[in-house]
Amino acid sequence: METPELNDYRAHLLDALDDQPRRAAEERPGFLQVLVNHERIGTLNCAQTDPSFAYTARERSIQHLELRSESGALIGGCVAPEAGQKSVRVPVGKGSLTLHVQNHFDGGSLRVQYEVAPGWWSQLATAIGLPAGAAVASTQASPVWSMTTAFAQVVLAVGVVALLAERIPVWIGSEDRAHQLEEELAARQSTQDQIDQVHRQLAQLVESQAAATAVSRTEQDRIAQLNTLIDTVAHTQQRLNAQVVAVQEDLKTVKTDVAQEVQTGMRVAASAVEADRELVRQDLQAVKSVNETLVKQVALLESRNRELHARLALTSLEVAKANASSKPAVVAKNEPPKETPAPTAVAVSDNLREADRQAFMFWVAFQDGTTEKSIEDLVQELNGIKKGPMKSGWYSVEVNLPNPEPPDRFLESVKRAKIVKSVVTSKAMPPAQ
């Protein structure tokens, strides 16, 4: 269909494509949106000191990475192999972005870093010994979670204990042991409050467990924060223990009976904290594992399906690449102009012929009534691997072809097997469903 309106539209889009590199180059690094597999997963603020962004994907590898400005201009990105790594450097403004993706079959991680090219000012600054980041605005305060207040209180409790230790010689003099024990108890109570608070938070966490699959990310943040809190409590514990030692040292110089009493008090406080901490840790472990199981179960169902599709699509990418690298550039340049066949299944198998030891994937359907056992036997005979479950009667099988064997002949031999109904190569989907 050709109408002026359609032609206009096409011309418009071509202009926009033509303009893309200029637009991308004009973008100033500010907030960059990070998109993974077409989903927005975060923002990199290039104005920060040491701007970097990290992300970990579960269940699915990071196959598709895009960085876009706030206005949506595509600044950089890449497709990454399903397993393995990929690094890309993209110039942005006066600096550059480094993208690094590391994938394994059921997940991946990503790191994006922005670096400003050192300008004359920072070079000069380094030369005369100024801190390089002096001109850069300081890091934004991160959102304060209510638990930071709790941390502060724990630290306060430690402070009280420290005071306690310092004041021991004074107490000895005034014989004010009642007061001394009171303060110590207060310190212990304060720590106890923190522990209770963690318990309450944990209880809430368990409550929200019902929605854990859905709200998994929020929960994971919390778990991270709880972990930090546990660490802080552990730290308190250590310092408390250290205080006990310090107090012991101090007490060596005073009457033994007083020393004994204070020491016992401190011990009791310390071991109570220790026990509570262990409980908290156990609770946390339990919550964590339940959460992880739930998240995995849900994601697994969906990812199985997606993975199959993605893996198949990826095969064609790998073929294109393998094909490219197997031909030296010089040869390619001197090639006579030739027909340009559409890249159909035939073209794909052609490429495979050139590619050394490429894994070769094909779809196979079996005669009605063929048993699972004889299918397994055939696959084994071919030294193949079944990829994923059956789809509308088609199995996808991957084999490693010995170098000289052309896929066509190989497929012919598969077709001759009695139980085989049909064999095809298809890039992405099982044939006619």
């Binding site: 539209y9 893309q20 077409h38 975060g42 949506g72 595509l74 294109a320 550039a329 340049k333 340009t340």
Partner: protein, 320 residues
């Protein structure tokens, strides 16, 4: 010497451009050069593959709307190809494009294709939403186009502080200056189609807003990505907690812009801070908010009840 091909394309190195796209490209520079010259071939190839996909999935119709949809998709595919391809050299460009396309179409529900979205208002909404997936300017603008929220309302709704609200104002500004127009161009909505929409909004606001209300769930469930893994709907209590404990800022923007139900709930909950006490509701706006534009919120210019408002705003916009 550069002989002309029968179809008018020039040859280089003794080969037509399309043949060179089948050969190996070895350097980034070579890739960029070749791609810049062959944008029409690349666009046509991506468009025809999209058509094929639509046909094979029984989503094709022989009319200009479908042709435009295929072109728009082809365009988005080529845009990515141009940027990603240079990181894949050495490669054969056509093969690489094909594999990118195959990969795209193997995603679950890759195209937002629904019959209802092929009407002018459906295409308008679809264009906004698909742009909002990649542009934060467009994302923030959804609050205006869907509900009539100005930048100040958006900042209040989202509970943003100083630094973040500046960012929202910039989003509105860029959207007003160029983002909206670019999105309309990329969507393929012509000036006259937009004018007709404006006309309908003026004469039958309730009718059009009801239509938007009906289409929103279809549209939003498609474009609300990262679901359900990362950004699901939250209960009223959870939303309250999120605001009270001051976390999840990205969550607020991304989810509320793309979920009518959560938006209405949160806007209602926070409406003492957000509005003058009127119930939040769907309130379509076609053009971006004009500079310094002030408008009545929540029903003030909807439903013909205060029709004068709408007209006043529109008049001042056209005269601006």
């Amino acid at each position: 010497m550069s002989p002309k091909m029968p179809d008018g394309r020039t040859m280089r190195d003794g080969q037509p451009v399309s043949a060179r796209l089948n050969n190996v490209v070895t350097t980034e520079r070579e890739f960029d050069e070749l791609v810049t010259k062959s944008l029409p071939e690349l666009l046509d190839r991506a468009t025809s593959q999209t058509k094929r996909f639509l046909r094979e999935t029984n989503q094709w119709g022989d009319d200009i709307t479908h042709e435009k949809l295929a072109l728009r998709w082809g365009y988005e595919l080529v845009e990515r190809f141009v940027v990603f391809g240079r990181t894949e050299v050495p490669c054969r460009p056509f093969f690489l494009l094909d594999s990118l396309i195959a990969k795209s179409f193997s995603q679950p529900d890759p195209l937002c294709y629904h019959k209802e979205l092929l009407t002018p208002v459906g295409r308008f909404l679809d264009g906004l939403a698909s742009r909002a997936v990649v542009s934060r300017d467009a994302l923030i603008a959804l609050f205006y186009h869907f509900y009539g929220f100005s930048q100040a309302h958006v900042v209040k709704l989202l509970g943003f502080g100083q630094a973040e609200s500046q960012r929202v104002y910039k989003n509105f500004e860029r959207w007003r200056q160029s983002g909206w127009q670019r999105t309309m161009n990329e969507t393929g909505l012509s000036g006259s189609e937009i004018e007709i929409l404006e006309q309908e909004l003026r004469t039958r606001p309730d009718h059009l807003n009801n239509e938007v209300d009906r289409l929103m769930p279809v549209l939003q469930s498609h474009y609300r990505k990262s679901e359900p893994e990362h950004y699901p709907c939250l209960s009223e209590q959870k939303w309250g907690q999120l605001f009270h404990d001051d976390y999840g800022h990205d969550y607020r923007v991304w989810h509320l812009a793309f979920c009518r139900d959560c938006f209405l709930e949160v806007a209602d909950r926070r409406h003492a801070e957000v509005s003058n006490g009127l119930k939040p509701q769907v309130n379509l706006h076609i053009h971006p908010l004009k500079k310094g534009g002030v408008l009545a919120l929540f029903g003030g210019d909807r439903g013909g009840r205060h029709h004068g408002n709408t007209r006043a705003q529109r008049l001042s916009r056209t005269s601006a």
